[in-house]
């Protein structure tokens, strides 16, 4: 059946990514690093990327057939230019499932470019984990191709979403490299600071996700309206430990916070009523905290593997710069489209505003860098902070943090 072709291709691509991830991790753990294995890993990722690209194209063609079929059911037969206009009007990024797949494509694309250009180890692993996670979340959404709603029938959709995907992917890669940078600077005090900062941020995000005060009062975590027994308590323990770490971070608080977060994630998975978005956010946080913790616990061992600081710094800068420029493209194309469709170029829609906040954060990064000379640690922290702002701005509307806006038709 033609409908499932693109999904089969996505699955094959995921299989490639998983095998590449396993290879990369083995090569990392192995005492003797093999250059050949590294090259093979990159090649496998490359193949996965090509297959995913073919999958996207196939999806576009499938959507094209569906658009043409539905058009011809209600209207006359199409021919010539009109046919192609209807056939190509539905790009493979028009609902939440497709957007997530497309975002994962963007992350792999950016990571591959960085890999080929700068040869950074570790970047692979992080971006593969993120990609697989994004693909995993995508798989839980509705995969059906539905004909486009009238508002999306515009060529602005192409350029608007393409630039958004690459921009946010570049921002993500920039955040990963700055995390590596922070870990590389062999300063134990800084490790501790990074940990406490990370936990502090996490605490805020937990509160946002778990609707903090409610949680503390009722001790029930129920994003879907159902109670997961025990999850609320473990989340409260985790938040408390994170908040304590604002004052003092010790290995004990860190590890127990990590453990309670792990228990929490396990419980919501076992209970089976996890809000998939919350699960994804908590997992990202857990992995981030876990990696930082690894570096805190075994600094010397892991430090020797990470590339030099200068290179990481350079990659971060390039990625954030790309993100900055492309978010500007997103904002401007969005404004032009909105002017054409709704009569106003700016309407303070939550997602619109979110993109502006992201742009301002990147502008802050660039300004502090050039004017204050905040290179290194400080700018790395801003880049990581910008990643969280990006998550909030991009997914916040779908997560239900913010008021519903005009972009909510992206939901499945």
């Amino acid at each position: 059946m033609i409908l499932s072709n693109s999904i089969i291709l996505y699955s094959i691509a995921s299989a490639f990514y998983i095998s590449a991830l396993i290879l990369a991790i083995f090569n990392l753990i192995a005492s003797k690093k093999s250059q050949i294995v590294k090259k093979i890993t990159t090649t496998i990722i490359g193949f996965g990327f090509i297959i995913q690209t073919i999958g996207l194209t196939v999806r576009w063609i499938e959507s094209g057939y569906i658009e043409v079929a539905t058009y011809e059911q209600t209207m006359q037969k199409l021919s010539g230019i009109e046919y192609w206009k209807v056939f190509t009007q539905h790009p493979p990024w028009s609902n939440l499932f497709e957007i997530m797949v497309y975002m994962s494509w963007g992350i792999i694309f950016t990571a591959l470019v960085c890999e080929i250009k700068w040869r950074v180890e570790f970047l692979n692993i992080f971006s593969l984990i993120l990609t697989l996670m994004v693909l995993g979340i995508a798989a839980t959404n509705n995969k059906e191709i539905k004909p486009l709603v009238p508002a999306l029938k515009s060529w602005w959709l192409m350029i608007h979403v393409i630039s958004a995907s690459v921009a946010y992917a570049a921002g993500t890669v920039g955040a990963i490299t700055s995390l590596l940078f922070l870990l590389k600077t062999q300063n134990k005090k800084l490790f501790k600071q990074t940990c406490s900062n990370a936990m502090w941020f996490s605490g805020v995000i937990f509160i946002l996700l778990g609707r903090g005060i409610d949680l503390f009062v009722t001790q029930i975590y129920s994003p879907n309206g159902e109670n997961s027994p025990g999850a609320g308590v473990s989340l409260i323990v985790c938040i408390t430990l994170c908040l304590i770490s604002c004052i003092k971070t010790t290995k004990l608080t860190y590890l127990s916070a990590l453990f309670s977060l792990f228990v929490f994630i396990l419980l919501i998975i076992v209970n089976g009523n996890a809000n998939i978005w919350h699960l994804a956010m908590f997992s990202i946080l857990f992995l981030g905290l876990f990696f930082i913790g690894l570096f805190w616990l075994f600094p010397e061992k892991l430090n020797s593997i990470i590339p030099e600081e200068n290179r990481l710094e350079h990659i971060t800068y390039s990625n954030i710069l790309t993100a900055f420029i492309l978010v500007a493209v997103v904002l401007v194309t969005g404004a032009l489209w909105a002017h054409n469709a709704w009569g106003r170029y700016w309407g303070w829609d939550p997602k619109e505003t979110g993109a502006l906040v992201i742009w301002i954060t990147y502008a802050l990064y660039l300004h502090t860098r050039t004017a204050y000379g905040w290179t290194g640690e400080k700018s790395a922290i801003i880049a990581i902070f910008a990643f969280f702002v990006m998550l909030a701005g991009f997914l916040g509307v779908n997560l239900g943090w913010f008021a519903d806006g005009l972009h909510s038709y992206g939901q499945s």
């Binding site: 059911q73 709603v149 500007a328 054409n340 009569g343 906040v357 008021a403």
Partner: protein, 431 residues
């Protein structure tokens, strides 16, 4: 006095202020995303009875953060900051661009090197380089993409233009909703003003919607919808000023107004019923459209049933105190069962739609769009161009060889530039 004004200017031009305002704007934007800013304040406050909370809410205009006085202060601060920063830094920059220091002895640069070579090959850097002799020393100066450093200011100008344009739009423009029933006309637009007050704005134009067409997919979700609009200057005028069928992403422009198709609604309770009548005596049949309570050839339409006794859509009619029913799914029912003089077939009903049109007057739009163009030009100049300067000095030594001093500087991307310079040095060293 002069010193104080200079100090104030420096405060406004400082980067600390930029960071402060950017942070302020970022945080404000972020908080504003948490609740619906288009909602009426009273609806947002319906669960709050505390007087202090209400007072703070209204004082800070939290119902519409993006139009509040303190957000405006942030925006004004940012504009002043941008302008002051340009006033302080641009003259120096222009001076440097117009009259660059040309002599190697006077410059500070990132890359310096000296070579002892038997022969000097000219040109050192490029064919267009400047060459002159002073006190038996030979000087060379060359520069590339001289104005690249102005890119930042172009970006800032673009931002100012965009802000200026949006202020114009806010003060001199409006954006409202007009609802026209199919076959009707409208001349008023409902505009939401400051503090959520909705007022009526008269266009002095009559907008007539002669037809509304909704196409749906098989599952009932809308595929496209369009309205045929005609605009008249007088109510009884016969010739329209302009006629166009507008759809989503396809607006109509007339004078300074633009009409956008944004939504549609079904008028509840009002439906048009379609009938075909034919009489026994002659074979000709006629099509009729009427509403509930209307009559066709002395037959009154009394009632409409969505599903009458499991037989589908049906209509109850009345002719001289005699009531009867006809079905949509059984067109021959009336002819075969009632056998009256007039046969009536019910073919279904049309919903009556109200087309929702956004009417906008956006006076600052050209300024904003030119701002966008300039923004991208500025971004291109800032990040893709790089001001590079190359200096050289040649001294002939006594032992028939030359001492070549090279000194170079760039405004951006030092790594790539360093590579370029070392290539040049290698080239001359190998001779």
């Amino acid at each position: 006095m002069q010193r104080i004004s200079k100090k104030i200017l420096l405060v406004f031009a400082s980067l600390k202020l930029t960071i402060f305002t950017l942070l302020g704007i970022g945080v404000t934007l972020f908080t504003g995303m948490f609740w619906d800013q288009t909602q009426d304040s009273e609806i947002l406050l319906k669960n709050t009875s505390s007087l202090i909370v209400r007072k703070i809410f209204f004082w800070l205009e939290l119902g519409d953060v993006y139009h509040s006085w303190w957000f405006s202060i942030f925006i004004i601060l940012l504009s002043i900051n941008l302008i002051a920063c340009s006033i302080v830094r641009l003259p120096k920059l222009f001076f440097d661009c117009y009259y660059p220091i040309r002599k190697l002895d006077n410059v500070k640069s990132n890359y310096k090197t000296q070579l002892l070579i038997p022969k000097v090959k000219l040109p050192i850097f490029n064919k267009t380089e400047e060459y002159w002799t002073e006190n038996n020393y030979h000087y060379i100066f060359f520069q590339k993409q001289n104005y690249a450093r102005c890119g930042v200011y172009i970006v800032h100008t673009a931002l100012l233009l965009i802000m200026f344009g949006s202020i114009c739009t806010n003060y001199f423009g409006f954006n409202g909703v007009m609802m026209i029933p199919e076959g009707g006309y409208e001349q008023a637009v409902f505009v939401k003003g400051s503090k959520g007050v909705v007022y009526k704005h008269n266009l002095n134009l009559f907008v007539f919607c002669s037809k509304f067409k909704l196409k749906t997919y098989q599952d009932g979700s809308p595929m496209s919808y369009e309205s045929k609009l005609s605009i008249y200057d007088k109510k009884n005028s016969t010739t329209p000023l302009i006629v166009k069928t507008i759809g989503v992403n396809n607006p109509l422009k007339y004078q300074e107004f633009t009409f956008y198709q944004t939504f549609y609604k079904i008028i509840s309770g009002e439906k048009k019923l379609n009938f075909i009548t034919s009489s026994n005596t002659n074979q000709s049949s006629k099509k009729f459209k009427t509403r509930l309570g209307g009559t066709i050839n002395n037959v009154t339409v009394v009632n409409y049933y969505k599903n009458y006794g499991g037989l589908g859509e049906a209509v109850q009619l009345q002719q001289k105190n005699k009531k009867f029913i006809i079905f949509k799914n059984f067109p021959n029912y009336d002819r075969r069962v009632r056998r009256g003089e007039l046969q009536i077939i019910f073919t279904g009903l049309d919903e009556i739609y109200i087309t929702g049109i956004t009417v906008a007057k956006v006076p600052g739009i050209s300024v904003v769009f030119s701002g966008f163009c300039i923004l991208f030009l500025g971004i291109y100049i800032t990040f893709c161009m790089n001001q590079r300067r190359y200096y050289a000095k040649i001294i002939s030594t006594e032992s028939n060889s030359y001492r070549l001093y090279i000194s170079c500087s760039s405004s951006r991307y030092p790594e790539a530039f360093g590579q370029e310079v070392s290539d040049i040095v290698k080239q001359h060293n190998s001779i």
